[in-house]
């Protein structure tokens, strides 16, 4: 019995460990590559342990950048990516909260029509509507701006749906108690509904931040000047086809740096995030 149990315990742990190794190994290699000099990497004999150029490589990556390909320090790119991801995440959450609030708590003409219109946009991600969206952004002279980078990505049906579902589970008596307590609709929204949604908001923030951070196609189209590049695009640009020109240690350092903010967001939000998925506090 005891034997069987410990065996049963070991097998899943073994499989999990194997999975972790398979996933983590390339990340480790990327990190190792970012600590050697270019020559060591390109001669194909890179060791499996970190090298001596950690500080030097990361300093160059963040503050200077590659010499020829991106012409901008990665620090700027990270800032661009960060601004974009934050604007998208916060913008999406703000708009979705408000539109879900309107759809659930107000009776206005064409309410359901409005709801279904929002719903249909699920089928129209940027990739599908790329030409008209580009045209509009260009006509509004928003190319190469943060506004152009983020606004077209902000309208979001998923978050609206999520918040709508959540709001519908909030008991009506809470609204009524608020009305009796002298809180108007907006006060109810700010004082009660948003605090109650905080865990869903956290979950949404994590998902949307990563969505924003990983954007590739849209920033590629919309930004042309070097100082508006995002880090995801930066990585792509660093890796040129003539292998000799690729500064692999910089590219790898950039890759590692690109991974950090999403990881930090996930770790920081994890507690709230898990709570949001498991606990219903009503």
């Amino acid at each position: 019995m005891v034997q069987r149990r410990s065996l049963l315990d070991i097998v899943p742990h073994f499989i999990l460990a194997l999975g972790v190794i398979i996933i983590a190994f390339p990340v480790y290699i990327a990190f190792v590559a970012s600590t050697w000099d270019a020559a060591t990497i390109s001669n194909g004999q890179m060791p499996l342990w970190p090298g001596p150029h950690f500080l030097e490589n990361y300093y160059r990556t963040i503050f200077i950048g590659t010499a020829k390909t991106t012409r901008e320090p990665v620090g700027i790119m990270m800032l661009n990516s960060f601004v974009m991801a934050m604007c998208i995440a916060i913008g999406k959450i703000a708009i979705s909260l408000i539109s879900a609030f309107a759809v659930v708590y107000f009776r206005f003409p064409f309410r359901m029509a409005a709801f279904w219109t929002i719903f249909i946009t699920l089928m129209l991600p940027v990739e599908v509507r790329i030409y008209p969206t580009y045209k509009i952004v260009a006509d509004l002279r928003l190319l190469d701006t943060y506004a152009g980078l983020t606004i077209p990505l902000i309208a979001s049906a998923t978050a609206t749906l999520l918040f709508r579902q959540f709001f519908m589970t909030v008991p009506d008596e809470l609204v009524e108690a608020s009305r009796i307590d002298g809180a108007g609709p907006m006060k109810f929204f700010v004082d009660t509904l948003v605090p109650l949604s905080i865990t869903s908001v956290a979950a949404m923030f994590v998902i949307q931040f990563i969505y924003g951070w990983n954007q590739y196609l849209w920033p590629l189209l919309i930004t042309t000047s070097d100082n508006m590049q995002t880090i995801v695009i930066g990585i792509k640009k660093m890796i040129v086809t003539q292998d000799a020109l690729t500064e692999w240690q910089i590219a790898m350092a950039t890759a590692v740096l690109a991974m950090l903010p999403p990881v930090i967001v996930v770790v920081a939000m994890q507690k709230l995030f898990v709570k949001g998925l498991t606990e219903t506090e009503k």
Partner: protein
């Protein structure tokens, strides 16, 4: 004066459901009015119309001689206790109670004083920092009461506030609510479908049925002189025996000076007395016992008239020696009989 007047109040929900018809009664200042009736009779609807949570289709409601039809709930100066308490889950007990006052721009020291006072009365002083989910049902109930008290409203509204509590706690809270209302002297409207709760709490009882008022009055008056068959059957537990007497009478029931026309005769289980066969009495029944319910201080005998026919309940004090299947005779006094018109359901004046 914080009296509540209802004049010809009617409610038709969107979709054409007529929930209330011509409701009219007055609640005097400081009275405890209980709305009672079976599920779906419109009690909550009426209460919510007084609160302003439901629009008034027709008629007029006034609180303290001020028509409130077009006023927002917050302007009506009422406080409501909900069945599920409806506490704000993310706010502490203190904030739950203070929220309404803050929204009304009450000065901070005043809020503090009122919340502390309410907490003292309700004995929840030690819970002020907790969140509602860290409280038991009874404690939540108290907080909900506290939220109503701190506002010092003109009218308290309760919608089945005790129905989520267990039986023992319910009785305890019932007593406390009554005491509290007495000391504060605030006009109250209380909705329940528990007739015992209604009887014990009310200064003024309103029995409703299918969107109509059946009878309004002090609880004892409704018990002693029900104006309709419905009230007769609804008030009192176990309910009044209501026996339909067709022109020919029914077997197993002997009634002196029986009215010629068909009537419904009503007699409460507690007004029966067991007697030997053949005892002359204004009303005598003979029944075969089908079930016996002993609750300690008293015993209820369930039986069928003359061995079959309709069921009759007879209360006897203490324990009963009778057995199931036994035949017994029970008699009742004339002044304890109630007569109703089977066609209209209204009380008949039969001497």
């Amino acid at each position: 004066m914080n009296n509540v007047h209802l004049r010809k109040v009617g409610k038709i929900y969107a979709g054409g459901v007529e929930a209330l018809r011509d409701i009219a009664f007055d609640i005097p200042d400081g009275a405890f009015c209980v709305l009672v009736g079976p599920s779906g009779c419109g009690k909550s609807t009426l209460l919510r119309m007084v609160a302003g949570l439901e629009t008034i289709t027709s008629g007029e409601i006034s609180i303290g001689d001020r028509a409130v039809n077009d006023l927002d709930p917050s302007e009506r100066d009422i406080a409501m206790v909900f069945q599920n308490y409806a506490l704000y889950p993310h706010m502490s007990v203190y904030d739950n109670m203070a929220y309404g006052l803050r929204n009304r721009k009450t000065p901070k020291p005043e809020i503090e004083a009122r919340v502390q006072e309410a907490a003292r009365i309700l004995e929840i002083g030690h819970l002020l920092d907790r969140k509602p989910r860290q409280l038991s049902g009874g404690q939540r109930q108290r907080v909900a009461m506290g939220r109503a008290i701190v506002r010092k409203p003109r009218v308290f509204l309760f919608d089945e506030p005790l129905s989520n509590l267990d039986a023992k706690l319910r009785i305890q809270m019932r007593v406390e609510i009554k005491k509290l209302q007495r000391t504060l002297g605030i006009t109250s409207i209380y909705v329940t479908h528990d007739q015992l709760e209604a009887m014990t709490l009310a200064d003024m009882l309103v029995v409703m049925n299918k969107g109509n008022i059946e009878q309004v009055g002090p609880p004892l008056q409704l018990y002693e002189r029900p104006e309709t068959v419905f009230v007769a059957g609804f008030i009192g537990a176990p309910p009044m025996n209501l026996i339909e007497l067709p022109e020919g009478g029914v077997a197993g029931l002997a009634l002196e000076n029986r009215p010629v026309a068909p009537v419904i005769v009503g007699i409460r289980p507690e007004h029966f007395e067991l007697a030997p066969v053949g005892t002359p009495a204004p009303l005598g029944i003979s029944m075969q016992i089908t079930a016996i319910e002993m609750v300690g201080a008293e015993t209820y005998l369930y039986g069928a008239l003359d061995g079959r026919g309709r069921e009759v309940i007879v209360r006897v004090a203490g324990k009963a020696e009778q057995q199931i299947g036994e035949r017994v005779t029970a008699v009742a006094e004339r002044h304890n009989l109630h007569f109703f018109d089977p066609a209209t359901g209204r009380r008949l004046a039969v001497s």
